[in-house]
């Protein structure tokens, strides 16, 4: 059974059909790319998958479970985590606390224990600290644990966003233009990070990207969107060689 199975997904904003009859099937462990020209509806697909928008038609299944009408929070608890095109960190909080917010659903104690610092508080906080540090180490952020997220350099902010998403222990990770605004060096580093996430956590990843070097370098499969419709779908090499895709990107 596929990890993510999306059928006939459609949404309209007023008269505009932003996503029309969108289908995608992602198997466990795959690294899947979603590409397309600006305004093709890629981020809208992400917002549909994470419950920010509710689709007019279609079904989204995660691991066999219908998550189409669920709220963003519920969908996260079901196992989809995401990053954002314009980085959305908890900027006034230290790096480690950003990750600990992500861990909160798995490491619990009551509010009263939290206020009194009694009961499970000490034990759970310690476990959280250890788990957060382990994650930060994977992303090479352990040296900045007490830095405010806002003060991190750009590339590290991207990494921290991925680390925070991973802290919720997702089944599927959605990356919205992770390489946006990065120089070739940083992009190279990001590709290593994504490879590492797959290796360390066996993560299934769906990513939106414009950087063709990154897409052709790491994605196994691609879906190309154009004007809200699927233009082409399949193995990366074949898709990128498709004349329709080249036409959509470069014009005739």
């Amino acid at each position: 059974m596929a990890l993510l199975d999306v059928n006939n997904l459609s949404i309209s904003f007023g008269g505009l059909r932003a996503v029309d009859d969108f289908n995608i099937t992602i198997e466990k462990g795959e690294l899947y790319g979603l590409i397309g020209p600006n305004g093709a509806g890629k981020t809208t697909v992400f917002n549909l998958l994470t419950g920010v928008y509710k689709p007019n038609e279609g079904i989204i299944r995660l691991d066999g479970e219908d998550i189409t009408r669920k709220s963003t929070i519920e969908i996260n608890h079901c196992g989809i985590a995401r990053t954002f095109q314009n980085i959305r960190l908890f900027k006034q909080m230290p790096v480690i606390d950003n990750v600990k917010v992500g861990l909160a659903e798995r490491y619990k104690y009551s509010t009263l224990e939290g206020i009194l610092h009694l009961g499970k508080y000490k034990k759970v906080e310690k476990e959280m600290d250890e788990e957060a540090m382990r994650l930060l180490k994977v992303f090479d952020l352990d040296g900045e644990r007490d830095t405010l997220a806002a003060n991190l350099p750009y590339g590290k902010q991207r990494k921290l966003e991925i680390a925070r998403a991973m802290a919720t222990d997702p089944k599927l990770l959605l990356l919205d233009e992770p390489a946006a605004g990065m120089n070739p060096n940083e992009t190279g580093e990001l590709m290593d990070t994504i490879a590492l996430v797959r290796k360390e956590f066996g993560m299934t990843i769906l990513l939106i990207e414009h950087d063709m070097k990154l897409v052709s370098g790491i994605c196994e499969k691609l879906t190309v969107l154009n004007f809200g419709r699927v233009l082409c779908q399949g193995e990366t090499k074949e898709v990128l060689a498709d004349p329709e895709v080249i036409k959509a990107y470069l014009g005739e």
Partner: protein
């Protein structure tokens, strides 16, 4: 045991409060405080308490409320009603303790109820609705007549005669004249204890799982939602706790004055803004700063009475200086260089985060 930075910073905050307590008590017992000054000590504590409450709402939750005096008002009236009704039945210690529980519970209840519609709003709209709430509470209480006799509690919105009390009866809440003769149970010591408890609750909350979720919502609620944080639930929690602490300040307030009336002077728009000034100048999100700013800014106009006409001039200059010292990036940088590890803001930046 190793003490981490957050714990250390919290201990400094408690330490400052305790030191201030010792200082003022020593001054009072050696006769170095005028009776006018002594009268200012209890108000100073409840203004510090409500500043802490408002900072939880404004600085930690990130929602601008300018109706916090409304919660203080509810705490004040419910507890004063209880204390006056049971003045002859219960010993003062237990009575005051129960008065606290009642004041806090009612303020929290109203915080919860008001929070349901209010927290759907953002920014300016939230400020306007909370402002209206504060005014409504004040005006409604001005129209309440509640009396007590053998047959129970009587209630009217017209006047005291309408209550129809028998000869054993007593009017407790007398409309715009409010509640008179609430036992004077508030002392400086109790005020300081309440302040320490409020600080303990808020500072510990900030350093817990719930506090991080609340601050995550403040920093970016879209990201918080997609990280699985129950945004509405945590907003309600923070708002209710904040209202409850404001209620505790109200209990201190009502048990410190002879006649409790819902006037603008104490519970109106200006009073709410005054508390917001404490919070902003002490540093939004900086709990320790709120306490210090509340104490200084409350005492200052009173201490400047000798300057008569120049009083408000000096007060406004102090406000401007505090604003610059606390918020100007250049000054903050300079303070970091010169004061090094003794700098409050540097620590507090980590403390809030």
């Amino acid at each position: 045991m190793k003490i981490d930075k957050k714990t250390k910073s919290n201990l400094i905050t408690y330490g400052i409060v305790v030191a201030a307590f010792i200082l003022f008590t020593a001054l009072a017992s050696t006769g170095n405080l005028s009776s006018h000054m002594k009268g200012l000590l209890v108000p100073m504590t409840y203004y510090a308490v409500i500043a802490v409450a408002l900072n939880l709402c404004v600085g930690i939750l990130g929602e601008l409320s300018i109706g916090h005096c409304g919660f203080m008002c509810i705490g004040a009236f419910t507890s004063a009603f209880f204390s006056k009704a049971t003045a002859e039945i219960l010993p003062s210690g237990i009575r005051f303790f129960l008065a606290f529980l009642i004041g806090i519970a009612f303020a929290a209840l109203f915080g919860f109820l008001i929070g349901i519609p209010v927290l759907r709003l953002k920014g300016d709209y939230l400020a306007i609705v909370t402002l209206a709430f504060g005014e409504i509470i004040k005006n409604i209480l001005n129209a309440f007549y509640i009396g007590l006799d053998k047959s129970g509690i009587h209630f009217s919105l017209k006047n005291a005669m309408e209550l129809g009390l028998d000869e054993s009866g007593e009017v407790i809440v007398n409309g715009a004249m409010g509640i008179t003769g609430t036992p004077h149970d508030s002392t400086f010591t109790i005020g300081i204890v309440v302040l320490l408890i409020s600080l303990f609750v808020v500072l510990n909350l900030i350093n817990s799982r719930d506090g991080r979720a609340i601050m995550a919502i403040r920093d970016n609620y879209i990201a918080a939602e997609s990280t699985g944080i129950n945004v509405t639930g945590y907003k309600m929690m923070a708002f209710t706790i904040s209202a409850a602490i404001a209620g505790a300040a109200g209990v201190l307030f009502s048990h410190n004055i002879t006649t409790l009336t819902a006037t603008s002077q104490y519970f109106g728009y200006n009073a709410s803004i005054m508390i917001l000034v404490y919070v902003v100048l002490g540093g939004i999100g900086n709990i320790r700063g709120s306490v210090i700013a509340a104490c200084i800014l409350y005492l200052l106009p009173e201490l400047l009475r000798g300057f008569s006409n120049y009083r408000m001039l000096i007060y406004s200059i102090v406000l401007i200086v505090m604003m610059i010292v606390n918020w100007s990036p250049k000054i903050i940088e300079w303070r970091k260089r010169t004061l090094g590890k003794f700098d409050f803001r540097k620590n507090s930046g980590k403390e809030i985060a």
